[in-house]
Symmetry: C2
Subunit: 588 residues, 2 copies
């Protein structure tokens, strides 16, 4: 008998071949004295037929197998009868007439069927992850993940990058998310931290003269989890010396173009669209706009500057805005009750209400119509390019609430009204980010990205005069309304980094205690440098068209950061804790 052949690869060209197959029993059917087994391996499924004329012994063994048994089969590839051809299966025109079978391992009845449309609870699927992973949807997702990773690597390798490994046992630094800590046995009372990203190490690599670094890097954040967060996640981490932000963006675009071509066979055209942060907010109410459909925010503050409608008036007087969405042709489809539901939806985003108008013929109908002058009406219709049958939805509040609520409403309507072409992959850059954010409560600035981000050159002086208005030399890559990741040029001069820490409210001692090694390194010939980090899990989720980040991670954790398969985290022995000189405090 020759070498094992993969079941899913068999075709008509293999007819009359003797083959050796190994894999799992997907399904067994007994029919008219024959036994049919769908044999599954990593390549797919083929039908195997056991016939008493071929081998009585094989038939007898085949009678004992159940779903998920691991078997080895020898047989001959034959053409199927015309009536039994299965056009859906790649192997559907042939079957294997078995001459021998051995059982390599038995299987109990699985707690759920190994099928793509499985409606069992996710917890059960996570506990038996190894069974869930046998489903073809997950098999395909991890093949796609592999392929994506390799395309990225090949691109970067060809571009002169070195793949390098940064430590997992690192130092805890504040100014970010919460760290996972690792107690040290050798240095009692001291802790390592798992890295939230290799940020400082990749900057050190630039200071080490390597110029082009990348890593498919594991990162860790001990945050309360949402559907699209995991305690450990993977990013494509890149850093370069001597490149401008334009060059870094151009390089990243080319990399993503290769990924789209190789993984999805989709051509994206370069250069990608770039939107300054302010423009993204103004047009889409979002810093990661989904541009697969229009319905942009329409600004009508000027038109309504003297509005007699109190809600508009007070928003404008306190420095806020009035914007609207024109929901084209939907006036008749949204009842007052439907609009009430939309009002509830925007309240989550801080809006106090949702004013609306319907265009009926030449007229504007709706509760606020009576507050509008003819001039205002004409202005609105003109600005909104409103036509008969359109529904206008207004938000008026301080700017951030208007953007947040209409941005979210726009996405909801896009989805509800099926305005989104799901075959589209709309990449774009968001640029010119604010460098700092002011926390009113704590009365201090925080770095919008991280404290090592370079301001844009024209705004360097603003760090002293008006930090809040300084823009970062930073860029985020957005796909279909998801942030894939972002990057920036980094500060490479000691004076600028000192200044940044000062603006962030660090004393010299605090800066030195936490980031002394960086400040030192900047004094020994740090090159101009910058980079980017893209979330691999997120990219795979979008390319595999999955809606859940957990489907893209081989052994994911639940929302309470548990691994249901191995039951981690778990209690450990007193000896282990003693060696680390730590003890668990009783809950009060």
């Amino acid at each position: 008998m020759s070498e094992r052949i993969l079941a899913g690869t068999l075709r008509e060209k293999d007819i009359d071949q003797l083959v050796l197959l190994k894999g799992w029993v997907q399904k067994r059917r007994d029919l008219g004295g024959l036994i049919f087994i769908d044999l599954r391996d990593k390549s797919g499924i083929v039908q195997v037929v056991f016939n008493p004329d071929n081998s009585k012994e094989a038939l007898e063994v085949a009678e004992t197998v159940r779903s998920e048994y691991v078997i080895q089969v020898e047989g001959k590839v034959v053409i199927r009868d015309e009536g039994t051809i299965n056009p859906v299966m790649g192997t559907g025109k042939i079957e294997v007439m078995a001459t021998d079978i051995s059982i390599l391992n038995k299987a109990k009845t699985p707690p759920f069927l190994i099928e793509d449309e499985s409606d069992v609870s996710e917890d059960l699927r996570l506990k038996y992850r190894y069974l869930d992973l046998r489903r073809s949807a997950l098999q395909d997702t991890f093949k796609l993940r592999h392929q994506t990773t390799q395309v990225v690597r090949n691109f970067l390798n060809d571009d002169g990058f070195l793949e390098m490994e940064t430590p997992i046992l690192t130092k805890s630094t504040p100014e970010g998310a919460r760290d996972y800590l690792v107690p040290s046995r050798v240095h009692n009372g001291e802790f390592y931290a798992l890295p939230q990203s290799p940020q400082l190490f990749k900057q050190m690599i630039m200071m080490g003269g390597f110029e082009k670094y990348y890593q498919i890097a594991r990162c860790f954040r001990d945050e309360d989890l949402r559907a699209d967060r995991q305690p450990e996640f993977t990013q494509i981490d890149i850093e370069t010396s001597f490149m401008t932000s334009d060059e870094i963006m151009a390089m990243t675009e080319k990399m993503m173009k290769n990924v789209m071509k190789d993984v999805k066979n989709i051509d994206i055209s370069l250069p990608l669209q770039r939107l300054p942060y302010n423009e993204a907010m103004e047009r889409y109410g979002s810093d990661k706009p989904d541009t697969r459909f229009d319905m942009e925010l329409i600004h009508v503050t000027d038109i309504l500057a003297d509005s007699s409608f109190k809600v508009f008036q007070s928003a404008i007087e306190s420095g806020g805005k009035v914007c609207l969405l024109n929901v084209k042709g939907q006036a008749a489809n949204y009842s007052r009750k439907d609009i009430d539901k939309l009002t509830d939806f925007v309240k989550v985003y801080g809006a106090k209400g949702l004013a609306w108008l319907k265009i009926e013929g030449d007229e504007l109908k709706g509760p606020i119509a009576k507050f509008l002058t003819d001039e205002e009406k004409t202005g609105l219709v003109g600005q909104a390019s409103a036509e008969d049958g359109d529904l206008l939805l207004f938000s008026s509040d301080k700017t951030s609430v208007v953007y947040d609520s209409l941005g979210a409403l726009r996405l909801k309507l896009g989805k509800d009204l099926q305005l989104i072409d799901k075959s589209k992959f709309n990449f774009l850059w968001v640029t010119d980010w604010p460098l700092l954010e002011y926390d009113e409560g704590l009365e201090r600035y925080f770095a919008a990205h991280h404290p090592f981000t370079m301001p844009v050159e024209e705004d360097l002086d603003k760090l002293s005069t008006d930090p809040g208005s300084a823009r970062a030399n930073a860029y985020d890559l957005v796909l279909n309304g998801y942030e894939l990741g972002g990057g920036s040029l980094r500060i490479h001069k000691k004076e600028q980094q000192d200044k940044m820490f000062e603006v962030l409210g660090f004393t010299k001692e605090e800066a030195s205690e936490q980031f002394g090694f960086l400040l030192d390194a900047l004094e020994y010939g740090a090159p101009p440098h910058g980079g980017i980090a893209l979330g691999l899990d997120r990219i795979v989720m979008l390319l595999a068209e999955r809606s859940n980040l957990r489907d893209t991670i081989l052994f994911p954790k639940t929302a309470s950061a548990s691994d249901l398969l191995t039951d981690a985290p778990d209690e450990v022995s007193e000896e282990q804790l003693d060696e680390l000189s730590i003890q668990v405090k009783k809950k009060l």
Copy 2:
């Protein structure tokens, strides 16, 4: 001005080109009104000349630069004068006549010179790791590491393997080295552990139906460090389903052949030599023999069975052995004092002494000669193929001491006498390992490799009758006396895994508590599977011909597991510990 060009790539073909260079000042020399700067970037070094005739302004700026300044230079490639050609440098026939220079960043005087032969303390170099990394020896080592990794990936990708990521936050399991622990914030009093290897996860991947997995995997062991150990290390981690151990070894060999060809341009011939464990011990006194030189152990127990020399007598009577090394032609070069030193050396390995004989003409000279009969002398000379001028060094003790001491002595003599051809890369497999080791103190068996290792088929029954003599279906890959890694077939049947835990002294409850998920998985159609893991850091160390594992890790830790660059581990805030519900115990 055109794009930046890499300094080290300039050659005679570039003469008359205008070039833009960016990099570091390796050295500045002022000579006869001219300034010469060796400009270094990741590609190498080129000499830049500043001449008042070309640009007085550039010359003035050049006067202010110091070592490790980051500069940008424009200029023209010209041929060097005959007398100033530097044949050692790739760029030695040309130089760049500068027309412009800008300083991109300044540098203080580094605490040590960026040169390959640096005699400063390793601690200082680790504190300023980013400066140390600029040395060409380290630059080359990390290029080699990158290249090795990519060759491995390309080979495995082409062979149908998927690269997959297993978790870093996992469950603590005993039966191995000490785990690094990570306290859970969500589940107070519970801990994750960092993985010592992805062993159980990669087995789960096989049970998930993927068949061919690999990962360049970070692993963690909280052990006291030796020169060749690090708290975190990287292994090439591979697992396959349905393959025999012969197939796994053949695949691994091919992979290493590719690495040797692509990285070192050395052809190694396949199949590699295989040595059963017992034979390796008998011939070399080592389970990872360095076969670049001979001087094998010579067994003379039979010849000396009736020896009147008490030391031999008692070793043999208590079931031990007498072996010797024949140090060819070295009798005259080893004084009694020299041999005393070798005696001290073998005592570290448990030997009580080192008997010796010198062959002088037809005679055996030395303190033990008088105890030997003529027949014994003839036997020894024959067995050892001893000739005039040879030195025979004897060890007699229980077998393990004889092997350990002569194995170590063999390596020492090989080195001292320069018997080792350093251009050789001798790979070999050590096979047929013992499955279990008996701990006399704890009166129980331990898994020699890990408890998931399959016994060789013929020895399956021995688990019940004579566990200590069962051999593992396991294989280690050895290069030049270093273990690169090893692997095995794994147990894939529930009954066998149950039996193994029983032999290891686990109650059913203990086995289920710690490895329940594995035992479960074995019941749901686990395929036959096995794999291998190779230490990447070690491979890079040997290929880069470095003697220190720390040179192969970008940001290594010291022997006390500290990162001197970032000062990790470090104290953390009370708030952080409170959130984790742990506290540090005061040392008593």
